[in-house]
């Protein structure tokens, strides 16, 4: 009487185990597929010219997206300049100051902002900056990416600051060190790796944003360094090439997508590197 029961139980156990394994594999499959396709379609188009030249007119072979790569870096540098100070200081407020009720509302707002679709950000900044300034601009593109970074950076900063044991704050305060010095020199210093990690992940997140840039940075076929002019960006260039009817441009789009993915991958690897010893005992 016990034997068949036992067998049925074993079967259920094995079935569920296999099911969860298959699902876990399914999570990894898209990454492999994406990589495979990008490498197959784009790798041959990645060459020196890709990183150093502007796009060539249709029909002419070669060319690259140097201006878009530079544009992406200009946009990200701006985004970091606007988003990191506000996000980090906001996170410091949430973790070190502020009342329970106020913080609850700020956190709630930040979490809603984290869920706002990126195209919504684009439209809002278009209405707030592009329309009044009578034109698309790199500035508006940097601002929209910066705005998207703020809630991300703020929440991760708060979380890593909360991980700093209260004993360090108490020890510093008990030495007669002022609160703001305690926060800057003890708390933030202890959590610095975590904060940098949060900033890098936020940058990686906005690096590939396309929709908000369509409304703000717009894209540009030429070099520009003026923040008041439209600027090229890799996601925009990929989008423009991908919807074009030309095979040459399609290949460039694949190559661009591959470079963008590798860039994001680099950020993720540096994050891994930074957080490597985070789980070693601190005391």
């Amino acid at each position: 009487m016990t034997a068949p029961n036992h067998r049925w139980r074993k079967f259920k156990n094995g079935f569920m185990q296999t099911l969860t394994f298959v699902c876990a594999i399914l999570v990894v499959v898209p990454l492999v597929l994406v990589f495979y396709h990008l490498v197959r379609e784009g790798f041959t188009s990645i060459n020196w010219a890709f990183f150093t030249q502007l796009q060539k007119p249709v029909g002419e072979p070669g060319g690259g997206m140097a201006n878009a790569i530079a544009g992406t870096f200009i946009l990200l540098a701006q985004a970091a300049a606007y988003g990191v100070p506000i996000g980090v200081l906001g996170g410091v407020f949430l973790s070190e100051y502020g009342g329970t009720k106020l913080n609850w509302w700020i956190r709630f707002a930040a979490d809603i902002l984290n869920g706002v679709p990126s195209i919504t950000w684009g439209i809002v900044v278009w209405a707030l900056m592009v329309v009044p300034m009578h034109g698309f601009s790199a500035l508006a593109g940097g601002v929209v990416l910066g705005m998207m970074m703020i809630p991300l950076v703020m929440r991760t900063t708060e979380e890593v600051l909360q991980l700093v044991p209260a004993g360090y704050r108490e020890a510093a305060l008990a030495l007669g060190i002022a609160k703001w010095k305690t926060i800057v020199q003890i708390v933030i210093r202890t959590a610095l790796k975590g904060i940098v990690t949060g900033v890098l992940l936020a940058l990686a997140r906005v690096a590939g944003e396309t929709a908000p840039l369509l409304f703000t940075a717009l894209g540009n076929q030429n070099w520009t360094h003026k923040l008041t002019e439209p600027i090229a960006a890799m996601p925009l260039q990929i989008f423009a090439y991908a919807i074009s009817p030309y095979d040459d441009w399609h290949r460039q789009a694949w190559a661009g997508a591959l470079v963008l993915l590798l860039f994001v991958l680099c950020i993720n690897i540096s994050v891994r590197f930074l957080t490597r010893d985070r789980f070693q005992p601190k005391i």
């Binding site: 009342g99 044991p165 004993g167 360090y168 704050r169 108490e170 020890a171 510093a172 305060l173 008990a174 030495l175 007669g176 060190i177 002022a178 010095k181 305690t182 020199q185 003890i186 210093r189 202890t190 610095l192 601190k282 005391i283």
Partner: protein
């Protein structure tokens, strides 16, 4: 040990109000929200003595200790009544900032907490540096002086720039004592400083306390009766937020006036 005459201060009249105390606590009550953790406590702590605070968990002894250097204010719910004077200065006066009080009254915690981003020497000098001291000679002198007082100098003098967290648990706790001493406080509060250490490290800390008493006024919270008996001159027994009895340690442990004190020190409850 407390029987030796030179370690028993002369000015110790019953019930423990010294002539010119380091700390004069009057009618101190500390509340967290509506709960009173410390109720109407008055006592004097004589300068250059060791006072042990004993009592069962939750009796308010840590809260009492933290009220002495205003650390309880970190809890926004906390509120105090009464008065504490440090060598005659009201530490709760409106004109006095908590930062100033804490520079004069140092604290060592139960869990050793050297700053993990700093080296040994940086940990010792952090209180001075972050309060604006830049003179390298003074910093170096204070480092050696504090580490010597904390009986750690010989063990670390060759690796002052090693990370503080590379030290053993007992060494880390002595480093925290050195860090507290470096700012030259007048009073040193210790909240169960040896409860997380092995017996050998505990013995070192106790020796250290007896040594430090020559220059400092020490108040130590402890769960360890033997430690209170070995290391302190005076003992205060707290129960349910009230000060039940306060007097010379020998008296508290051999001939307490209160039944509850006797029950506690003999291990019948708590």
């Amino acid at each position: 040990m407390p029987d030796s005459p030179n370690q028993m201060p002369n000015a110790a009249p019953e019930p423990g109000f010294a002539n010119s105390p380091a700390l004069a606590v009057r009618n101190l009550s500390v509340f967290f929200g509506k709960n009173a953790a410390v109720k109407n406590v008055s006592l004097d702590i004589a300068a250059r003595t060791v006072t042990a605070i004993i009592g069962p968990s939750g009796c308010g002894k840590s809260t009492f200790l933290r009220a002495i250097n205003r650390m309880h204010e970190l809890n926004p719910e906390a509120r105090m009544e009464g008065e504490i004077k440090l060598f005659g200065d009201d530490i709760y006066s409106r004109a006095v900032e908590s930062v100033t009080v804490r520079r004069r009254i140092g604290m060592v915690f139960q869990k050793s907490n050297p700053f993990p981003t700093m080296s040994i020497v940086e940990n010792v000098t952090v209180g001075l540096r972050l309060n604006g001291m830049r003179d390298r000679k003074t910093l170096a002198a204070r480092t050696e002086q504090s580490l010597r007082m904390a009986a750690l100098w010989d063990e670390v003098k060759d690796r002052l720039h090693a990370p503080a967290v590379s030290l053993s648990g007992g060494q880390q706790q002595r480093l925290c004592i050195a860090r507290a001493l470096a700012v030259h406080p007048e009073v040193l509060l210790m909240d169960e400083p040896a409860s997380a250490l092995d017996p050998l490290a505990t013995a070192k800390i106790e020796d250290l306390i007896l040594d430090l008493k020559k220059n400092y006024t020490i108040v130590i919270v402890t769960h360890n009766m033997q430690q209170a008996a070995r290391a302190s001159d005076f003992t205060a027994f707290f129960y349910l937020g009230e000060l039940v009895e306060f007097g010379p340690t020998t008296k508290i442990f051999t001939n307490p006036a209160q039944k509850r004190t006797e029950d506690y020190v003999t291990g019948r409850f708590g």
